[in-house]
Each structure stands twice: as C-alpha cells, then as structure tokens.
C-alpha cells in the first residue's frame, strides 16, 4: 500500500517495506518512538537518532526538526484524481432531481461560486431543497426564475467548473 505525501510542494510515495519504508522507490530504515513531552519524538533513521516534535491534524503532519518547522500533507489519490477531472471538465448542467417549483434564485449569470454555495431553492412535495454548487464554478446560465414549475430532469442552472487551485487563492 503506497501512501502519498506532499512536502514543499512536491509529492512523494511512501510504502511499507517489511519493517522499513520505501520512499519514492528507495528503501529507508526508520522507526519512531515517543519522547517524554507531549509531541516529542525520536526518529531513528539509518542508525542515527534525532529528536523532533510532531503534531497531526486532519491529514497534515506538522514537524519541528533541526530548528525548522515544516508540514507534510497526506493526500488521498482519489480526491486528487477527482479534482483533476473537475479541472479538465468544463460545462455542466444541474438538472431538477424531481418535479417542483422554484422558490428563489441566489445567483445570476456570471456569478462565481465556491463549493457549497447556494444556487437556488426549490420546493417539491412540501419539502424545500437547497441546490448548492458541488465545486468552484462560474454560472453561465440560470434557466429558471422564482415561481417557475419544472419537470424532473429539467435544466435549472448551467455552470463551468473552475480550477480547485483558484478556490484556495480566493479564500486567502
């Protein structure tokens, strides 16, 4: 089982190899033991023992070693492949999951939306549903207006997928 980690913007694959590790195809003998203090560890690599501090939160490993702090992010290959597919994707259409009526529209053509942003609210069978964006995108066409009735499968909104990376830069 290979695991992918990103350090300083570069990806590497680490695979367990018996009691050792294989990093990008090259073997490394390494083991980790806890120290006394919280977050304190000792890593033994190729016979050398070094102190470091490690803390982990949500797939990010923060490591303080030899006076510098860095972080290594563990990522999931499937998520990456999906994001690549969205980038490569392009125009898409959101269609009504069931027949109903449009209660309100939160966007207009040209609006840029983040993942999870509200696009429109519809009502069907006495239940209101919020239609949200599944990934960063730009609205290219709003096909309905408040009060419109629609059938199952009717187009509601047309979007153009945006690069996931640009979402990051817009956030900061």
């Amino acid at each position: 089982m290979g695991y992918d980690f990103c350090l300083e913007g570069r990806d590497s694959r680490v695979t367990p190899a018996g009691s050792a590790l294989e990093i990008d195809g090259r073997r490394l003998d390494a083991s980790l033991e806890r120290g006394l203090h919280a977050g304190e560890y000792f890593i033994v690599v190729d016979g050398r023992r070094e102190k470091l501090f490690i803390a982990t939160r949500h797939d990010v490993h923060f490591i303080h070693w030899r006076g510098r702090t860095r972080h290594v992010e563990a990522w999931n290959a499937l998520d990456r492949a999906r994001q690549a597919a969205i980038r490569a994707g392009g125009a898409e259409e959101i269609r009504a999951p069931m027949p109903g009526v449009v209660i309100s529209v939160a966007i207009e053509s040209g609006t840029t939306v983040e993942r999870g942003a509200l696009l429109l609210t519809i009502e069907s069978m006495k239940l209101q549903t919020a239609i949200t964006a599944t990934h960063p995108a730009r609205v290219t066409e709003v096909c309905v207006a408040p009060g419109d009735h629609f059938d199952q499968g009717s187009p509601l909104v047309r979007l153009e997928a945006l690069d996931a990376a640009s979402e990051e830069s817009r956030k900061s």
């Binding site: 089982m1 290979g2 294989e22 499937l78 492949a81 597919a85």
Partner: protein
C-alpha cells in the same frame, strides 16, 4: 534443530553443465514467448488504445494492485498453439494479487487484441478464473473491456456446459457464497458481457468509453431500426443515474481504478483456515541449481529430493516411510511458512509406492495439511508380477484417497506426466486448486516413442496375420506422423495453451508461486476427511 535434505548434487559433473545449458535455453525460450504474449502487439492496435485514451491492460493491473506486492499471473501462454497465435494470453489476463490489503483474483480483458473479443479459449480461461474464485473463495476484480464473443468461432464458445454461460453461472454462485466481485468497466460490455458487471456486487463505469448493453448500437438498429449511440444507449450517466445497473461513474481510468481500490478496501477480510505455520525461510540451496538438475532428456532419471530441497523453506524435509515405496518420496515441509505434505515421483509407481502414497494422503487429510504433488511420472509398473499383486487396486486406492481429499491440493508438473500416473498424482481432472508446469514438462497418455512403437506394432501384427511384412520405410511412415503429432501435442506449450494447467513457470519461481497459491487457498474451510471404498 530440524533436519535438512542433504544435497548430493555434483555441480562439477559434466551432466550438470549440460542440463543447465539446456534448461537455461528452455527458460529463455519460455521468457521470450511469455514476453511476446504479454507485450508484443501490432503498433496500430496500441495506437487505437491510445487514441481512445485507454491504458494497456497490464498498466491497469499494476495501478490496481498494492505497490510493492507480488502478482501471480495464471496461464500467461493460454491459446498460444491455437488461432494462429492471434489470441495472445487468450486475450485476457488473470492472476492473484493484493488490492488494498486483500487477496483477490483479477480478470482483465485485453482490448489490444481484436478489441478484447472472446475466443473459445478466452472463455475457458475466464471460466477457470471464476472456478478458482469459487474453490478458493477469492474475491474477484473484473476489468471489463471486450467486444464480446469472437463470432467466427461462436460454436465453440457458446452452448456447452463450460462455455460463456458458465461465467455468469459462476458469478451467481460466487455471490451466493458471499464472495464479493467488483467490475471496472473501461470499455464495452456487450450482450453476454453485460452480465459481468450486472452480476458483480459492485461496479464502476468509465464516462465516455464505458458502456453496458445487452444489445449494442448495431444490433439495436438491426433488430428494431432504432438508431442510438453507445453512450446514450448504455453509458455511465444512464447506468449510474437512471437505471442503477452500475454503481459509480468515473471520469478517468485512473479515477476508476482508485475508486475500485477504495471499494475493495471496504470488503471484510475473510477468516482464513488455520494450518500449521512457522516463520518463512528461503531454501538452504540455491534454486538456480534446479537448472542443473532437470535432465535434457525425458528418459533420464533424477532424484526428486534435490528438487524439493530447492523449493521448500530451509530445505527442511521430514521424510515419511523413507525406506518403503522408494519410487514415491513423501514427507512434510514448509513453503513460505505454510506446512504442506509433499508427494514426489522418483520412478514408476509400484504397489508399495501406491500404498504409501494413499496412506500419506490420508495422514495429511487427518492433520489438515495441504498436499503438493511434484510430478515426474511415466506410469504404474506393468507386468504379470505386479498385476498379480494387485497393482490395479493399489493404484485405485491411491486415486481414491487423492480424489476424496478435503485439503487443498497443488500440483507442479516438474517433468513428465504420462498415463495413469497423472491421475494418482493429481492431474487436472482431480480439482487441485492450482497446477503449474515447467517449460521442460511433457504430458500425454503415453510417451511419443511408446505411442509410435505401439501403433507400428499393431500394424505389423495385423499384416503378419495376413502373411505380409513391413519394410523399414513403411514402418517409419507409420511411426513418423504419430511421433510428430504426439510430440507437438505433448509439450508444456500445447498443454498450457489448452489450459490443462494454470501456467508455465520458471522453475526458480516455484516456491513463490506455491507460496501465493497456498495462501490464496486458505479462504475455504477444510472439512472432515472421508473416503469412498478402498479396495484393500
């Protein structure tokens, strides 16, 4: 301290060098042919794959398997002697590997050969793959990408008991047994082929290239006049959003495979049957020495203990009844830490060796020890003395004990496998979990020479009764075609082409192949032993 086999191999004997040269040449030939079957394709077929954005079948498999794990490919040279060699590997790749930490069997269509169309032997290989899955309770990952049955040969792949229908029957039985199957649909699954994802518990279909339909666009047009493209008829969106025929849609082959891995990662790891285990240890002797042990002439005898010593862990071997029935070597050993009972031929089978074999098989069944048969057998001993002593019933007891065995059985065709010896020593018909053969292996009802002589003899006697004799050239004219056809149809390549075994392997790979095979077999429980009537 366990005892090791003491090798008496003389590496300086002239025969060692001679045998070694011959076997290296045989292995070279095998590797060359295997490489060709695995990788050599007309450029235009590879271009067509690339044009559709398709990965080569082996690339798909490599991405599916856990990195740094082994893959035991089965029947890599299936169909090599049929169809003018068109269907390389039988147009499908099967093998045992690890996906997300689970042992699975992979079945992957090879669309680089006639669009992945199924030849009769493709169907046979597919059925064999699922038979292995059933017998060993191995989860299956299908990588579907096939144009369907190869129509010109449909009569050989459609109607019979072990034909295309058997694939879907096996899938149903697997599911009934609770053994999961995943289909990754990379291309078209047409007609019968559509049942593979439909009968899989989980399926992923690729947007674009993937399609599942009982009738493809040409057939639909011919049948009802409706004109519809493949994607609209049975593409990813239809099946994952509307029909529910497929479970997940993926936008790239990479994504489909990663999703497949995540799905397999959800499967419960089955419990394995426990057999005796110890820490694995490589053999004490170099397996490369096998090349110097196997003779270059089928008539030359060798000591099978030398072969055992280069397959089993630490070359440790506890021989059973070492002084009795010496033409059958029986004993316990470990392969990759798994304890097995070995039966290996050191000559023809006599009354005593047959009895010893039957008895040893019973011991192994009693103490839940899988059996490994190392075949090099020309047959049972013939002659008045032996018939009078009841070699028929002794051979029968051997066959009875072996057939009724409840432990997993594995066979390696180390050299010759002729006549009834094949039966007792667990040939194909006896439901061994896996059979492997070496490149030097030969198999037949009898040896070519013997057959040619027998048939010539029949003719000579016939003419003698009519008062005629045969001239040497006439005898030769009878013998030669027999020799030729027997020789052609007795080779390891012919045998593996017909799937009489699960693949030719390099002798030095035997320990690994058996190690994996034994491990794969332990997902099935071992029942209490019972036998039919032994004619005592």
């Amino acid at each position: 301290m366990m005892r090791r086999i003491e090798s008496r191999l003389d590496r300086h004997a002239p025969t060692y060098a001679r045998f070694r040269a011959a076997n290296l040449a045989r292995v070279d030939e095998f590797r060359r042919r295997q490489n060709d079957a695995r990788f050599e394709r007309p450029q235009r077929d590879l271009d067509r794959l690339a044009h559709h954005g398709k990965l080569f079948v082996r690339e798909r498999i490599e991405r599916l398997l856990d990195p740094g794990t082994p893959f035991l490919e089965l029947s890599s040279l299936a169909a090599n002697s049929e169809y003018d060699g068109e269907s390389k590997g039988g147009s499908v790749v099967t093998g045992i590997g690890i996906v997300s930490g689970r042992e699975v069997i992979v079945r992957a269509d090879d669309p680089s050969i006639k669009g992945g169309a199924w030849y009769p032997l493709t169907v046979k290989k597919n059925v064999r793959c699922l038979d292995i899955a059933i017998e060993n309770r191995l989860p299956v990952v299908h990588m579907c990408d096939s144009a369907g049955g190869f129509l010109p040969l449909q009569s050989q792949l459609f109607a019979d008991r072990v034909s295309a229908g058997r694939i879907f029957r096996n899938q149903s039985v697997l599911s009934q047994m609770g053994v999961p199957q995943l289909s990754l649909v990379f291309g078209h699954c047409t007609a019968g082929g559509a049942y593979i994802p439909s009968l899989s518990d989980y399926s992923v279909i690729l947007r674009g290239n993937g399609g599942i339909f009982l009738g493809g666009p040409p057939l639909v047009k011919a049948a009802t006049g409706e004109i519809v493209d493949a994607n609209t008829l049975g593409g990813a969106d239809v099946h994952t959003r509307v029909s529910g025929v497929a479970d997940y849609a993926a936008d790239s082959e990479e994504e489909a495979i990663l999703l497949g891995r995540e799905i397999v990662g959800q499967w419960t790891r089955g419990e394995k049957t426990r057999i005796e285990h110890r820490e694995p240890e490589p053999p004490a002797y170099d397996p490369e020495e096998l090349y110097g042990i196997i003779p270059d002439d089928i008539k030359i005898q060798f000591d099978m203990r030398e072969v055992i010593a280069r397959i089993v862990d630490g070359s440790h071997f506890h021989e059973y009844q070492p002084d009795y029935g010496t033409t059958l070597v029986c004993g316990f050993a470990w392969i990759w830490g798994q304890k097995v009972g070995i039966l290996a031929n050191n000559g023809v089978l006599f009354n005593d060796s047959s009895l010893k074999g039957a008895h040893f098989i019973q011991l192994c069944n009693q103490n839940r020890t899988p059996l490994v048969f190392l075949q090099n057998i020309t047959g049972f001993m013939v002659g008045r003395e032996y018939e009078a002593r009841g070699i028929c019933k002794d051979g029968a007891k051997f066959i009875m004990a072996q057939s009724c065995s409840v432990v997993p059985k594995f066979t390696v065709m180390v050299n010759g496998s002729f006549g009834a010896g094949n039966y007792g020593m667990c040939g194909r018909a006896y439901d061994g979990r896996f059979i492997f053969s070496w490149p030097n292996h030969q198999i037949g009802i009898m040896g070519a020479e013997q057959a040619a002589n027998t048939l010539a003899d029949v003719k000579i006697r016939q003419l003698e009764r009519a008062g005629k004799t045969l001239a040497p050239e006439e005898i030769e004219a009878i013998r030669r075609p027999v020799l030729e056809s027997f020789e052609r149809e007795s080779t390891a390549y012919y045998a593996t082409s017909q799937l009489w075994d699960d693949g030719i392997i390099d002798p030095v790979d035997t320990r690994n192949a058996l190690g994996i095979a034994i491990s794969a077999s332990l997902h099935t429980p071992i029942e209490r032993p019972s036998y039919g009537v032994l004619r005592l």
